[in-house]
């Protein structure tokens, strides 16, 4: 069936908002033909009022298209058989303020007809994952926007969806939470999920998305793989450890011979990285907080839940009976970059929630067949996803070689640090990681 080749497919989807008299007033979406493949993270971008959210609402049957139609997971989201496979986080969390965090998840779990045991175990796992276990019985109405987003995300995951539709998932969230969500999305995609991500935070989109589409005036302006769209083939960036002035002069000289310009400066640490470092240190010192706790160790609780004697718990969490992934490093990559705080120390078998949540048999047509190798997470990332995140890549050796080739062996003088090279379009923080 043709429609099944794409998780989301729209055909000349058009939405015109009429005024009170029924006259066509605003064309919010105009002849949109969106094709999102299975197991793809698709970034849906565009300025305010470009029609992103309207498109999502049409996909979710909250609005009826004026013309055209949309297929989501091969059908309509009005069909419960389809909507039970979807997780949706709207642009605002729209949660019932009088329910506690736990009651909120319980309510949405009940709408999926989840059995009580499954529901309870998932609620515990999700609360732990989003760092709100300590506030599980607090009313959502008293939460900050970021905390509400966390619960919103948790409710979108309660059914272990095949397709996740996220509208501004990181808005209002602190940098650690943002980082956590990005990592979560990568893990979900690695496990075969399809993700449609709407965001104005372009750095986030760039970090996680395989393909992006930019909408303007309700029409798709450009669409394609992130790498191919952003790569500047006529530019080159070199990042190294400390170099002597002589070496720098030689580099300038070599580059001058290539008849191109050159700018050499000392790189700055990214604020996001600096922030994470400070907060991680405060958490390690167990400073009290009334807000969300980014333990960054979200696998700990689930590891206990998913212990081998209780295989059913894992199964219930992911909704499928499958082999648990072998032990491996499932801590978030961002933590690996930091001096490990005491709280972040885990046993090797301490499985991450992300793995448990995202683990699925890779049966979909476009899903890579092999689960990640726990011993070599970086390699797995590279082989499974051509658009791999640079932090997973063992970059040092390769880049040392390139530098040596460039400098005629001077790179080896930098014995106290790594010498790296990267494209300008690659995030600097990832290189440091």
């Amino acid at each position: 069936m043709v429609a099944e080749q794409h998780a989301i497919e729209t055909f000349s989807l058009t939405k015109v908002f009429p005024d009170w008299w029924g006259r066509a007033k605003v064309v919010a979406v105009d002849d949109l033909n969106l094709k999102i493949r299975y197991n793809e993270i698709y970034g849906f971008l565009g300025p305010n009022g470009s029609g992103k959210t309207t498109t999502l609402k049409m996909l979710l049957n909250l609005l009826h298209p004026t013309r055209g139609y949309a297929l989501v997971l091969g059908g309509s989201t009005a069909d419960p058989a389809v909507s039970r496979r979807i997780g949706y986080l709207p642009e605002e969390s729209y949660l019932y303020p009088y329910l506690s965090a736990r009651e909120t998840l319980d309510f949405y779990g009940r709408l999926f007809n989840l059995p009580a045991r499954v529901r309870e175990s998932r609620i515990e796992a999700l609360l732990e994952m989003v760092g709100l276990m300590g506030m599980a019985n607090r009313h959502v109405g008293t939460f900050s926007k970021g905390m509400a987003r966390r619960i919103g995300l948790a409710q979108a995951l309660i059914n272990d969806p095949e397709l996740l539709i996220l509208d501004e998932p990181t808005s209002g969230m602190d940098p650690i939470g943002t980082r956590q969500i990005k990592d979560l999305l990568l893990h979900l995609a690695r496990r075969g999920k399809t993700i449609l991500l709407c965001s104005h935070l372009l750095a986030d989109v760039e970090d996680v998305c395989d393909r992006i589409g930019i909408l303007y005036g309700g029409r798709m302006q450009v669409e394609g793989a992130v790498d191919s769209l952003l790569q500047q083939s006529d530019r080159c960036q070199i990042l190294s450890g400390p170099l002597s002035p002589q070496t720098l002069d030689r580099i300038r000289q070599i580059i001058a011979e290539e008849q191109t310009d050159c700018d050499i400066s000392t790189p700055m640490e990214r604020l996001e990285q600096y922030f994470i470092q400070i907060v991680t240190r405060a958490q390690a010192e167990a400073r009290p907080t009334s807000g969300a706790v980014n333990t960054m160790k979200i696998g700990g609780f689930l590891a206990e839940e998913a212990a081998p004697p209780e295989p059913g718990v894992l199964d219930t969490l992911v909704g499928k009976s499958i082999e648990p992934a072998a032990g491996g490093d499932v801590e978030l990559e961002s933590v690996q970059a930091e001096p490990a705080p005491p709280a972040a120390t885990e046993e090797p078998e301490d499985r991450g929630l992300l793995d448990d949540l995202t683990r699925r048999a890779a049966t979909l047509p476009t899903t890579e067949s092999e689960p990640p190798s726990p011993q070599e997470p970086g390699e797995e990332e590279m082989t499974e996803r051509p658009t791999a995140r640079p932090e997973d890549q063992p970059v040092e050796t390769v880049r040392q070689d390139i530098l040596e080739a460039l400098t005629g062996g001077a790179g080896s003088q930098a014995a106290d640090g790594t010498t790296e090279m990267a494209r300008p379009d690659e995030p600097e923080e990832d290189e440091r990681a």
Binding site: F17, P18, D19, W20, K25, V26, K57, L60, N61, L62, L63, H64, T77, P80, A81, S83, R84, I86, Y88, P90, E92, Y94, L95, Y96, Y98, L99, E103, F107, Y108, R110, L111, F112, N113, Q155
Partner: protein, 457 residues
């Protein structure tokens, strides 16, 4: 069903957190005991109990009706306005399940509150009875006329015969040319009908009037019969009282000497009665003949009264059940109103905003409360207006429930009158099932088609 119940539970949580719910609960918790303490009535124990339960049940019914409307409208319109509904409709739940869940939540919340406040009223009534230290006759009267459930048999005037007489009279007057010029036939018949009714009801001095009742089946021979009536007098005496002489028994057969030969023991009661007030007299049930026949006769003694007495709404009552069962049925009658109002609220909220929906619900509630009056008034319309009314307003009025007249459970409880299960079933069938069902169906259809995220531009 799980999903419907999940939405209903959420609606209950939403409802009990509304300030209007808190106000209603606090008001009733304060006012009901206060009314129990301050109720006076006619200073008898029966009067106090009747006053308390009458006001208590009416207030509870009124406040819960208002609360139902507010909760039903708020829970739907607020979810749509604040977009909470987005996260619900994108889950695997059908839209009709959401509407049913909302309705079920409102109804369940009301059932809980009605049960709680009904129990408070019931308990307070018994507390009043046991702590009143009333004289034994008053306590007996309260037991016999309030803490009971009695069947009521009404008397009716044979309207068909009366109508024939009226027509004959009209034709005679017309033949004699005594109908005033310009007076329509309808108007003349109306005047004649009014006069005929007065004559049919009136008992001039020296005359007597008899009403007969069939199929009187008193289950417990130790319980008395009650004759309930209201008197008018023309001209009205200065002290607003008339002398009444009543006979109750089987007067069908007499022997040659004029003595009654029936097995039933006739009873004679003579008393002074206030005018324009319902009063009851009790007679032993042995006055009823074996075949369930009993006659009630009123004699206007010319030596005591100089006026024409008009006995109105003469009724016969006898015990048929317990107060507890009857009180429960009264609560169920009130509950049927709440079900209907919840259906109206949920229905209109699926497509209207909060203020408009509230307005329509309140209009439905008020119209239901005076439905009988409106229907009676509009039935008097004549000519083309009558046709217009028959095909426009009358069907609408039918769709609305009746909360007044015989559909007001408070009157039953105050009179110690039994609410029949059959009658209750009929109320639930028409109000709770057909009318509310049609409204819910309409709401489901609208909600199913509605674009929940639609914005005005």
């Amino acid at each position: 069903m799980h999903r419907v119940w999940a939405v209903a539970r959420n609606t209950i949580s939403q409802g009990i957190r509304m300030r209007v719910a808190a106000v209603v609960i606090v008001l009733l918790l304060v006012l009901l005991p206060l009314m129990g303490l301050t109720a006076v009535g006619d200073r008898t124990l029966l009067g106090r109990l009747q006053t308390f339960v009458s006001y208590g049940l009416s207030l509870t019914s009124l406040l819960l009706c208002l609360l139902t409307v507010f909760v039903a409208v708020y829970t739907v319109t607020h979810d749509i306005k604040r977009h909470h509904i987005f996260l619900v409709v994108c889950k695997p739940i059908r839209r009709y399940e959401i509407v049913l869940g909302k309705l079920l939540g409102v109804v369940a919340l009301n059932a809980m509150l009605l049960a709680a406040f009904g129990a408070i009223i019931y308990g307070l009534a018994w507390v009043m009875f046991y702590t009143a230290n009333a004289p034994p006759p008053q306590a007996r009267q309260a037991r016999q006329e309030f803490f009971t459930a009695r069947v009521r048999l009404d008397t009716k005037i044979d309207m068909d015969r009366l109508q024939t007489q009226i027509l004959q009279e009209y034709n005679r007057l017309k033949f004699e040319g005594r109908i005033p010029e310009g007076m329509t036939r309808q108007r003349a018949l109306g005047i004649l009908r009014s006069e005929a009714l007065n004559i049919a009801k009136s008992v001039p001095p020296g005359y007597a009037k008899e009403w007969t009742f069939q199929n009187v089946r008193v289950s417990d021979p130790n319980t008395p019969l009650f004759v309930r009536y209201k008197l008018r007098a023309l001209p009205s005496p200065v002290d607003d009282q008339v002398f009444s002489q009543w006979r109750v028994g089987d007067f069908r057969t007499r022997d040659a000497a004029g003595r009654l030969t029936g097995a039933a023991v006739p009873r004679y009661v003579a008393r002074r009665d206030p005018l324009r007030t319902f009063v009851e007299l009790s007679v032993p049930s042995s006055a009823v003949a074996d075949d369930g026949y009993v006659a009630v006769a009123y004699f206007n003694d010319p030596s005591r009264n100089a006026c024409t007495v008009i006995p109105e709404e003469v009724q016969l009552l006898y015990r048929s059940g317990t107060f507890t069962g009857n009180f429960l049925r009264a609560l169920l009658m009130i509950f049927s109103r709440l079900v209907f109002l919840a259906a109206v609220g949920v229905c209109v909220s699926t497509w209207l905003s909060f203020p408009v929906a509230i307005l329509i619900c309140m209009a439905a509630f008020v119209t239901g409360t005076i439905n009988g009056f409106i229907v009676e008034s509009l039935d008097l319309l004549e000519g083309p207006l009558s046709l217009l009314y028959t095909f426009t307003i009358k069907p609408l009025l039918w769709l609305l429930p009746k909360f007044d007249g015989d559909y007001n459970p408070t009157r039953f409880i105050v009179e110690g009158r039994a609410i029949g299960w059959g009658f209750l079933g009929q109320v639930y069938l028409t109000t709770g099932l057909i009318k509310a069902g049609l409204l819910v169906l309409l709401g489901v259809l609208i909600f199913h088609q509605r674009e929940l995220a639609k914005t005005a531009v």
